[in-house]
């Protein structure tokens, strides 16, 4: 789960990590008021949950009230990668000497939290990672020690020579780690962390992502969730026990298991088709889930054929077949359906499918090929 910059910085502030004086605003008038309070220059920054706002023109420096109103006017309502900007952060303009990057995330290989630090702050860290990976220092944080003072010092000395900056950084890094742990974060970043003209460390921008698995014990964070349209559909699906992601193709798939679902999509592509979605109905045998899954597929107007690929383990094929029949009775399905059932109770399931006069195939490959064949036909009819 992601939150906005201004929310991340509210967390920073609560952990006494120094941030700029700033306020989130929803209208041009609010921006003007806040800018007036802060004094010029101010920075007006789009608050959206996607990256790349800088390149999209979502961050502007304003040296006067006029410029502030103009910036707010341009940014509010702007579209950034499909997200409409509904709020901006107005922050004091700060003079600084140098920019750094610091961040915490989970490292799969060491199975630990790692601290990342770089003197190349202020630019997209992914680009630094690609072009100059040695410029990013990585430190594995032992979960038994947490961010101990010596480790924080070790990191700080990689970025700073001045002992006063090192001391500020040691304090800041320990707080940042504690924030990461306390909130079950999956990513915390300050980029840039700047040294002001007065020699103080200051977080100019902040980012926090959270572990979805831990949201149950982080109600305050869960409450900050702002899903976009696609995410709302995914969440809705999740509440029904389905894992759904909409894509741009024409072949709707219904599969049990994420890996098999991806392999199914790959198979469709292999035979020249385009999957319309990722849809994992999970490991349970509840026929109602199949009904819900069919409704979801039917709600996507791009879907011209449905391919059902089930390898029964915990999932029983006869339950899936029964669910499908129920779905066909409940909802109006006027596109072809290809069914492949293997594993637990496949025989019983196929019996049910055959009685409904649905095409049955024996393997994933065959299913994809059959779906392609039917799709071409149906797309000719429909177009």
């Amino acid at each position: 789960m992601k939150i906005h910059e201004y929310q991340a910085k509210e967390f920073f502030s609560r952990y006494r990590i120094p941030i700029t004086r700033e306020k989130v605003c929803y209208t041009i008038d609010e921006v003007a008021e806040v800018a007036g309070e802060l004094g010029f220059p101010v920075v007006v920054k789009a608050q959206v949950l996607v990256g790349g706002r800088g390149k999209a023109g979502g961050v502007k420096l304003a040296k006067s009230m006029e410029e502030a109103r103009a910036a707010a006017g341009k940014i509010l309502g702007m579209d950034i990668k499909g997200c409409t900007v509904e709020k901006v952060l107005v922050a004091e303009g700060v003079k600084f000497n140098s920019e750094f990057y610091v961040g915490l995330t989970i490292d799969r290989n060491s199975k630990s939290v790692i601290f990342m630090a770089s003197a190349e702050g202020g630019v997209e860290i992914e680009e630094v990672a690609k072009e100059n990976p040695d410029a990013i220092h990585k430190f594995i944080i032992d979960p038994d020690l947490g961010m101990s003072p010596f480790m924080a010092r070790k990191i700080a000395f990689r970025l700073f020579e001045d002992i006063n900056l090192v001391k500020q950084a040691v304090d800041l890094f320990q707080k940042l780690y504690q924030l990461f742990i306390d909130t079950d974060a999956s990513l915390v970043e300050i980029n840039p962390l700047v040294v002001t003209d007065e020699g103080k460390l200051l977080a100019l921008d902040g980012k926090m992502n959270f572990d979805d698995n831990a949201l149950y014990r982080q109600p305050a964070i869960a409450a900050l969730n702002e899903p976009d349209e696609d995410e709302k559909k995914e969440i809705e699906a999740k509440e029904k026990g389905l894992s759904y992601i909409r894509l741009d193709g024409t072949i709707g798939c219904m599969v049990n298991g994420a890996g098999l679902a991806m392999a199914t999509m790959d198979m469709i592509k292999y035979f020249g088709g385009q999957p319309a979605n990722f849809l994992d109905i999970g490991g349970s045998s509840n026929p109602q889930k199949v009904v819900e899954a069919m409704k979801l597929l039917m709600s996507d107007k791009n879907v011209h054929v449905v391919m059902i690929n089930i390898f029964g383990g915990i999932t029983r094929c006869d339950d899936v077949a029964r669910g499908l029949i129920t779905a066909l009775n409940q909802i109006d399905v006027n596109i072809p359906i290809v069914v492949r059932l293997s594993g637990t109770n496949a025989k019983e399931g196929l019996e049910i499918i055959k009685q409904a006069n649905l095409p049955v195939v024996n393997s994933m490959s065959e299913a994809a090929q059959e779906a392609m064949r039917l799709c071409k036909g149906c797309s000719q009819e429909k177009n």
Binding site: I106, K111, D184, A258, G259, M262, K269, D280, F311, G312
Partner: protein
């Protein structure tokens, strides 16, 4: 032989009286797994499916000599259950629970390392040594005893692969579902080494997914340490960047962890990568023929 589990496995089920624990205990028992004990706090002294139930892992281990534990407790308690298994004297934990907070796994895996205890999962289907022991939720009937070792980040895709192997006459030594969570127990490298050291295993199938760089590291490890033939498969070649595909692991972001990169990494070290599941048994047979 085989790896991790066999006829000598004495299985403990943590969460034996729960819905999933109860269901799969019956399945595992029916497969022939030697289940010696269950744990369910407050139900110590009872029996469940004919298996004695204890309040704590420690008691269960002391009373029954259990050496392996499968964990079915709900995600918020799974991290603690793993710790209890390790502290209680279990040698191998298998955590099926889905949705365990990552920081709980960070803590648990650090403790396991300190204690020298092995873990499979969490969020995994478990593992099986055909005809000897099933410790997980895999459908036992599709497996066949043999000489192919298999490891996979996914569940049902594993069944698909195993089905291809079995129907083509290729039995399995041990099949392990390692799970797709960001922080998990044994992973490709450890399992590759175990299969390498297992005299019964003659070929290895590695099933990967997009996201992370575990496959790239595995490829490097194969180059350096593995002499047995390995065949790979990567799911998610068509997954769009930045989207999660069910497993937390399956994310592609900023061009790292894509299927193309993973396939290239394997092919660079001479590991053939199947484009479709049906190719897996073909490739395995080719490599085995070349070797003999």
């Amino acid at each position: 032989m085989s790896i991790l589990i066999n006829k000598n496995t004495k299985l403990l089920v943590q969460g034996i009286t729960g819905r999933d624990g109860s269901f799969h205990t019956a399945k595992m028992k029916a497969y022939g797994t030697n289940i010696v004990a269950g744990v369910s706090p407050g139900k110590g002294g009872q029996t469940h499916e004919g298996i004695p139930v204890f309040n704590t892992v420690e008691e269960a281990v002391k009373s029954t000599g259990a050496n392996t534990s499968i964990i079915f407790v709900p995600a918020p308690f799974a991290g603690d259950a793993i710790l209890e298994a390790a502290e209680g004297g279990i040698e191998l934990g298998v955590c099926i629970s889905e949705g365990v907070p990552t920081l709980d796994m960070v803590k648990a895996t650090a403790y396991l390392k300190k204690k020298g205890v092995k873990l499979i999962g969490a969020n995994c289907p478990g593992l099986i040594t055909p005809d000897e022991a099933l410790v997980g939720i895999l459908p036992g009937n599709i497996f066949m005893k043999g000489n192919v070792g298999l490891m996979s980040r996914s569940g049902t895709l594993t069944y698909e692969m195993v089905n291809q192997l079995t129907t083509n006459g290729l039995g399995q030594s041990t099949c392990v579902g390692i799970g797709g969570d960001p922080v998990a127990g044994l992973y490709y490298q450890e399992l590759l080494q175990m299969f390498e050291d297992d005299p019964e295993t003659e070929a290895i199938v590695l099933i990967g997914e997009i996201g992370g760089d575990a496959e790239e590291r595995a490829a490097q490890y194969i180059k350096e340490k593995i002499s047995k033939p390995v065949v790979a498969f990567i799911a998610g070649q068509t997954a769009p960047p930045g989207k999660r595909m069910g497993h937390a692991g399956a994310i592609i972001s900023s061009g790292s962890g894509t299927a193309a990169e993973k396939i290239a990494a394997f092919e660079a070290v001479g590991v053939p990568v199947a484009r479709r599941p049906v190719e897996i048994p073909v490739l395995v047979k080719q490599l085995l023929a070349k070797r003999n």
